[in-house]
Amino acid sequence: MSTTYNVIGTRPIRHDGADKVTGRALYGADLQLARMIHGAVLRSPHAHARILRIDTSKAEALPGVFAVVTAADFPPAPADKIVDFGEGDTLLSSLRGNILASGKVLYSGHAVAAVAAVNAHVAAEAAALIEVDYEPLPCVLTAPEAMAPGAPILHENLPNGNVAELIRYEMGDLAAGFAEATVIVERELDTATVHQGYIEPQNATAFWSSDGRIHIWCSTQGSFVARDASAAVLDVPVSQVKVTPMEIGGGFGGKINVYLEPVAAMLSKKAGRPVKLVMSRRDVFTGTGPTPGSRVRVKIGVNDAGKITAAQAWLAYEAGAYPGAMVGPGAMTVFACYDIENVLIEGFDVVVNKPSTSAYRAPGAPNSALATETVLDEIAEKLGIDPLELRLRNAAKEGTRRADGPRYKRIGCIEVLEAMKASPQYNAPLPGPNCGRGVAIGFWFNAGLPSSATLSVNADGTVNLIEGSTDIGGSRTSLSMQAAEVLGLRAEDIHPTIVDTDSVGYTGVTGGSRTTFATGLAVHDAAQMVVEQMKARAARLWAVDEVSFSNGTFSANGQSLTFAQLAAQLGATGGPVSCSATVNPKGVGGSIAGLIIDVKVDPETGKTDVLRVTSVQDAGKAIHPAYVEGQMQGGTAQGIGWALNEEYFMDADGDMRNGSYLDYRMPTALDLPMIETIIVEVPNPGHPFGVRGVGEANIVPPLAAVANALYRATGKRLNRVPMNPATILGL
């Protein structure tokens, strides 16, 4: 297939670029409103405790304080009410309980009360005056401990102690498969809790008007999800809440859940003023959802030909305080890159006394891929086969059945592996002793979900794009480019605006790598409607039946008009043209990513230097290659940080001892080399331009690729992430 495009595949300047390099772009914390006051949240110092008494009287009496709220101010959540915001279902009681604790606190950092005051300093002073009597309870911090008999129980209503959900996928005959194997390797690996680490802390400003309407301004990956979740927690109809999405300073899955929005709203209701809440960095670490720590055991058997005959996985993921550890996707992706006949996968969603986890870029998949991809590396070594060759012999392709049931449509696993094999890095020698090269691949599903868009033609031949997908990494431009491609215009001729939830049709989150795919589809469909309406105008003008359109020009019977020329005549041919489309698509294309990494380990200190990295990913079709590369580089950097350094360091009482960027050590510019990228394009048949989401799959391979590189450098198979100097030196 050799489709040629005019706009797609080029690298225009992003539409919000000037605002973002000059400081004009308004992020959530930048909002200033008349009469606005500021809030602070009081958080639990205990990882597990019963709340015996909350006395807010001293806080309320402090001059400058306008309002104090606790869980008692919120409408009760019926025990079994389930809410669904298009992101999977959640118990309303869990959602509510995480926003402000009632009865028990379940992690250190759990919000207990909130204050609104004349400024943030007074609010913080007032919060410190709130008296809470706790009865501390024993806490449990890891999945294996929480699953053990006699473990402290977090929720009395779960049927299996702290196990909230069991997952099991079975295919073929496992015992027969292992009997055919000539090499069998089994390994168990642990990963620590890590955070998305977005630089902008969570924030929310709310105004509860006297007419009952609630206006919320926040940094969110999904304005409609924030609206619906806030309405559910406040028990008001969704139409009573309007969310205005501000610019968002990173999310990676962590800004889908609501934390502050309903609290700011309730404070505003009491105070009669707009209330702004902004988290501190420590609040972000201890009060928002990190991604699960995990224990994963994988056993794989292969025959002499290097064909996998059987594979077994056991996964226990830490959900944190409330169910929902992403063990489902962990289980579904653990062997997803491979064509395996005999499979057994068991997964456990385990609650522990840590912050309630949330999504983080391909949630659940890096943890499980770590085990599979390191076991395969060991098998390749035992068989004396190149590790990429072993993967190629088993690579999933169109028609391969995954253990969870469905068969793949067209996917790019083989193409990604071939690109890795042919890459400059894979064919370059390592620079010297104590160096090692590791490879790994990973899969992510990507998501569909609803999206809406409106296109309005301006008389000067440009087009306004109204959409509801918050722009985390250039999506205004990737969407505008798709409109421009259909309309025969330049990317610069499209003027995108992201609007509030009252002003555009329902649009799901900027997450699941779905925006360029799904909102792109809505934009594409709206643009095709514009073309059809414009054709009808040209037909009216020329008194013909049939008008053709290509490369931005309408023509019939030897007459022609450019898009801009016809746009100027819309008023006289029937009035303005404005078209809206809403989609809820199938046809989502999953993405395969691969990583090659060269490291050097200092044998004395155990410090790892990353020497060279190549990230490879199937983008289907890269709309804006620079921002596709950016996703690949960003996911790779996060994965390397996860592999080498990052972790929640909890003491025995469940207190996070490294809740600052000084001690929670994310990669800096000095820790990384340039990140080479190879974009593979195996078009997704489910999208008119072939788009596959690229936001997530790239974070799946790094953990395993780093582990494999460290093995080659040190001769040690490490069984714990982060593979920091202490782990490497066995301290």
């Binding site: 690298r11 300047i13 992003r14 919000d16 670029g17 000037a18 973002k20 390099v21 000059t22 400081g23 004009r24 308004l26 992020y27 914390a29 930048d30 200033q32 001059p63 400058g64 300093h121 007074v122 998305q196 680490g197 977005y198 630089i199 902008e200 802390p201 610019e247 968002i248 300073g249 990173g250 999310g251 990676f252 501190s280 960095r281 985390i472 990494g473 250039g474 804006h624 620079a626 921002y627 590369e629 950016g630 996703q631 580089q633 960003g634 790779t636 950097a637 996060q638 600052s660 960027y661 000084l662 994310m666 990669p667 800096t668 510019a669 000095l670 820790d671 990384l672 340039m674 990140i675």
Partner: protein, 161 residues
């Protein structure tokens, strides 16, 4: 609440006076009092670099400087980099090289990089990485930021001799 202090300073080449409490950081003063919200707060303890501004002839994380310490000083924030509607070459290079994704760290990087290029007109990759290691970016993996800074160095100072 303590009595407010009057602070006279120069921000982006304009004289500015503001009233602040002694406990308020320069970052708070810039954002909440003066209204220059281009400077961002990512951590409040000097570790992310989002609030980097130029104070006199050095760069500081403005969350760790008190507003009252800015008295008599000259401050440059991201709002002061462009000349009218003409972007600073660093700003243009960040756009040309797609060096931002979410953009929250960008103001701090631009200020830090501007100071780097004044000290080292032709920084090596290593120098650039070292200088910018005070600024965290979680989106880009730094690759395109480093390339943008090096391209801007050539744009501003010509190719290295």
């Amino acid at each position: 609440m303590s009595a407010k202090v009057q602070v006279q300073t120069t921000i982006n080449n304009e004289p500015v006076e503001f009233l602040c409490e002694p406990r308020q950081s320069l970052l708070e003063c810039l954002r909440d009092i003066v209204g220059l919200t281009g400077t961002k707060e990512g951590c409040g303890d000097g570790n992310c670099g989002s609030c980097t501004v130029k104070l006199g002839d050095r760069i500081v994380t403005s969350c760790l400087v008190l507003g009252v310490e800015a008295a008599g000083e000259s401050i440059t924030t991201v709002e002061g980099l462009a000349h009218g509607s003409t972007l600073h070459p660093l700003q243009k290079a960040f756009l040309d090289h797609a060096a931002l994704q979410c953009g929250i760290c960008t103001p701090g990087f631009l200020i830090a990089a501007d100071a780097l290029l004044q000290k080292h007109p032709h920084p090596t990759e290593e120098q650039t990485r070292f200088w910018l290691s005070n600024n965290l970016c979680r989106c880009t993996g730094y690759d395109k930021i480093i390339r943008a800074v090096q391209a801007a160095a050539i744009e501003i100072n010509g190719a290295a001799q």
